[in-house]
Amino acid sequence: MSKIRIKFTRGEEVKYVSHLDILKVFERAARRAKLPLAYSKGFNPHPQIIFGLPLSVGVTSEAEFADFEIDGAVSPEEFNDSLNKELPKGIICLDAANLYTKKNIMVSISAASYKVLFLCSENLKSVQDAVGALKKKKMVIVKKFTKKGERDFDIRPLIYKLDVFQFSYEADGCTNPNLVKYVENNIDDFIHNTDFHREDLYCLDMLVGAGNVSNLKPSLLMTALSETEGLYLRQVKIHRTGLFLGDTLRLLDPMSESVLENI
């Protein structure tokens, strides 16, 4: 019995597929690819696949991770290639590696980075000031709606990095071609019948706490920015750029050797 960790994307084509359904997508793709997955024992055997942090419906990502339990001989490269042949559009397996640690990806996630595009009529300076003001606060209280009802929640400790830029429409001006393409295709839908212009598009880069214990959803941070700083904004898109292990002092890439081999 061995384990393989993969890194994969979730593109525009599959951003409305729920987290649980993505799990099925991988199960079926692996079956079609005839990959030697390990099955659970018991009444209703199913393959042992563990995913990193769930992605909200509508959000795209270039850095998702999953751990597969393997029952047979297959190299990470073979695994990666055969899976890619059977995955639907929008999901691309970018990397695969043998995993030797017992800690699965789900329990290890500690931080996530996102790019959030939003429209705002204020100029860059005002937007930067608002973001700066939020960062200076000791506490940022937002209302969080849970099954138990509404409660106050201080998100400030979970904001590790926060920077805002004016969005550049040229691929060269932005490190992320996914976003440039998305904006080109969709921006008119968002400014149609509003007072917004194409120049009002901003990109918020954030690194926030994530995982099982405490998790900050980017949309909640956007709400906080809007409410506490009085910034009128319209969210356009959320894109996940990374998931990390470790702690704030030393964040680790889930595919890095030290993580994969930490026994």
Partner: protein
């Protein structure tokens, strides 16, 4: 042109993945490189429509043709429909997102009467005129097929042509004709004129219907020479060699039947007198075990599904069922694929097989005695006995099953209180069997569900002359049954009698009922088979405003010599045979199944040599 569905819209509706397409095995083609664009429409939501076997077969079969691109269209759920109307987005096909108004042919499958208002709604949403007569040459041709097409009359003013019977061969013939017509740039009327002589094609506008003073129909007459007087359904003679897809679409989200469905035969040897499928799909034809196995393997490999289900009207009536199912089980087990065996008869329940098929996952077992007494089971020719049921459940209980579902019908012809009480008694006996099963072998919990639907008389059955019980009477019978069920571990479910009443109207409706459909739709009726959307009061208003009496269709006893609105449709079973079966029902006489003895229903003329079963 593809429609624009913005992220803002998709993010605001329930289950947006219903509308995005791109599923595994969905077919991608370049629309401008084909001659015919075909929109295959299922008049219900994605989850229901994607589960339908006929659509899965025809979609992939049509796409085998290089000259055709067949795409899927489902009824958008009410939230999405609202967004589409608000944003002026016309109904689109899932593959290309192109508006179906630009397609050549729009085809609906008619699986149940209560989906008819969705057809109207979908045409309207597409921007295609609802009535055939209002469509111009640049509008798509609108066709329909499926089991309800055997009485096409309620939709006669809406659908340009119907396909009667099985679609695999005739659809190709129609598409060939369409391609020629398109090249020659002929009118839609000329196209319809040309296909009217293809066997199995019914063009309602080429027939007139007159009525008698008492409101009954005269037989539909062709409006001119050269139009066939009667339309004979199409069948596939050789089921082993007919097209069966090697790939089927694997949806992202969960659908109703989220598994591979493997058809094993069509038709049924039994002849239960209430069952329309049992008559209209005759004669029984099997796919060879070899082909079943081969196709099953390919489908499992191409989809990655972990479950496969056998499809037919009565699974265990497959000849060599044990051999076939064992081979299939073995094959599927090695692939960790679960085999589901629906539609097993009470008299053929094999514990051995169920154990193997369901492994340790002991989901509920379902049996369908249909009626509570032997007398009534003889009337409906169900052909199973109380002993059959008791034997089966006793096997099931000692095999560790604890959950049993029993299906019955209320309102069957000749039914008395005694028959209804029989349902409760049968339920009690099943509980008794459980109690007599040793504690060591039986399941710790018992759950018996009695589910009673309301009988709906259907065309082409021996009960097509029968009145349906009134809503009041059905309610009384439901209450009566509820009062008789005293066991605490029996759960009793019943159906909405109002829905059954409307089903009875449109199952045996004529052309005049079509106006009611449109009127009801205008009043907001759609998704009528979904309890939360069913608007009975609006339906009744629609009948009134159209001066149409629903009781005339649902609860009226027909005389033996009445011409029916569907009499010009020929499904192969003769009216004379149905009459003799009707008589035998009242005499409480059963008819042997087709393998025991041919009863001469008339359908054997479809087959070379005139023999259904060797």
């Amino acid at each position: 042109m593809a429609v624009r569905i913005t992220d803002a819209i998709l993010e605001s509706v329930e289950k947006p993945s219903r509308y995005i397409g791109n599923e595994w095995n969905s077919v991608v083609k370049e629309p401008d490189k084909v001659d015919i664009r075909f929109a295959f429409c299922f008049p219900d939501n994605y989850e229901v429509g994607m589960s339908h076997l006929g659509m899965r077969i025809l979609y992939h079969m049509l796409n085998q043709r290089e000259d055709t691109y067949c795409e899927r269209v489902f009824a958008p759920w009410v939230d999405m429909e609202q967004k589409m109307r608000d944003n002026k987005i016309p109904l689109f096909a899932l593959e290309t997102k192109d508006a179906i108004k630009e397609f050549d042919i729009i085809g609906f499958t008619l699986q149940y009467e209560m989906s008819y208002t969705n057809i109207i709604n979908m045409l309207d949403l597409a921007g295609v005129p609802i009535y055939s007569r209002d469509r111009k040459d640049d509008h798509p041709i609108v066709c329909a097929g499926g089991p309800c097409a055997v009485n096409p009359e309620p939709l006669a003013d809406i659908i340009d042509f119907f396909v009667i019977g099985e679609g695999e061969e005739v659809t190709g013939e129609v598409l060939d004709a369409y391609k020629e017509c398109k090249k020659a740039n002929v009118s839609r009327q000329e196209f319809l004129n040309r296909i009217v002589n293809i066997s199995g094609i019914y063009v309602p506008s080429l027939y007139t219907v007159k009525y008698n003073e008492d409101g009954t129909c005269k037989k539909a007459e062709p409006i001119r020479e050269g139009v066939p007087k009667s339309i004979r359904k199409r069948i596939i003679k050789d089921l082993s060699n007919v097209y069966y897809p090697e790939k089927i679409i694997v949806p992202y989200s969960r659908i109703v039947h989220d598994r591979v469905t493997m058809e094993i035969f069509r038709g049924c040897i039994r002849g239960c007198r209430f069952c329309q499928a049992g008559y209209i799909y005759r004669p029984v034809r099997e796919k060879s075990a070899e082909k079943v196995l081969e196709a099953a393997k390919k489908l499992v490999e191409s989809t990655g599904y972990d479950e496969i289900s056998l499809a037919s009207l009565s699974t265990s009536d497959y000849t060599e069922f044990d051999k076939m199912s064992n081979e299939l089980l073995e094959e599927m087990e090695s692939r960790k694929v679960n085999l589901a065996l629906p539609s097993l008869r009470v008299d053929s329940f094999s514990l051995d097989l169920m154990e193997k098929a369901q492994k340790v996952r002991k989901s509920g077992l379902t049996f369908a005695p249909e009626a509570g007494t032997q007398r009534l089971r003889d009337v409906i020719n169900k052909g199973v006995t109380e002993d059959d049921l008791i034997n089966s459940v006793s096997l099931a209980f000692s095999g560790g099953w604890g959950s049993v579902k029993l299906y019955f019908m209320i309102g069957l012809p000749t039914e008395s209180n005694e028959d209804i009480e029989g349902i409760a008694k049968l339920g009690e006996k099943v509980v008794e069997v459980y109690k007599n099963t040793p504690k060591e072998t039986r399941s710790r919990k018992l759950n018996v569900t009695i589910s009673a639907s309301s009988f709906v008389p259907k065309p082409f059955t021996p009960f097509q002359w029968e009145p349906q019980d009134t809503i009041v009477e059905l309610r009384r019978k439901q209450e009566y049954l509820r009062g008789r069920i005293k066991q605490r571990n029996i759960t009793y479910n019943w159906h909405d009698t109002k829905v059954s009443f409307l089903e009875a109207v449109f199952a045996r409706g004529d052309r005049r009922t079509g106006k009611v459909l449109v009127k009801a739709w205008e009043k907001g009726c759609k998704f009528d088979s979904w309890g939360e959307h069913f608007k009975y009061d609006e339906w009744i208003e629609a009948f009134k405003e159209c001066d149409c009496d629903p009781h005339f269709y649902a609860t009226r006893k027909r005389s033996q010599d009445e011409e029916f609105p569907w009499d010009h449709i020929d499904v192969g079973v003769s009216k004379k045979y149905l009459q003799s079966e009707h008589k035998k029902a009242y005499e409480e006489k059963t008819t042997p199944n087709c393998r025991e003895n041919c009863s001469g229903c008339g359908v054997s003329t479809f087959l070379d040599g005139g023999v259904c079963i060797e």
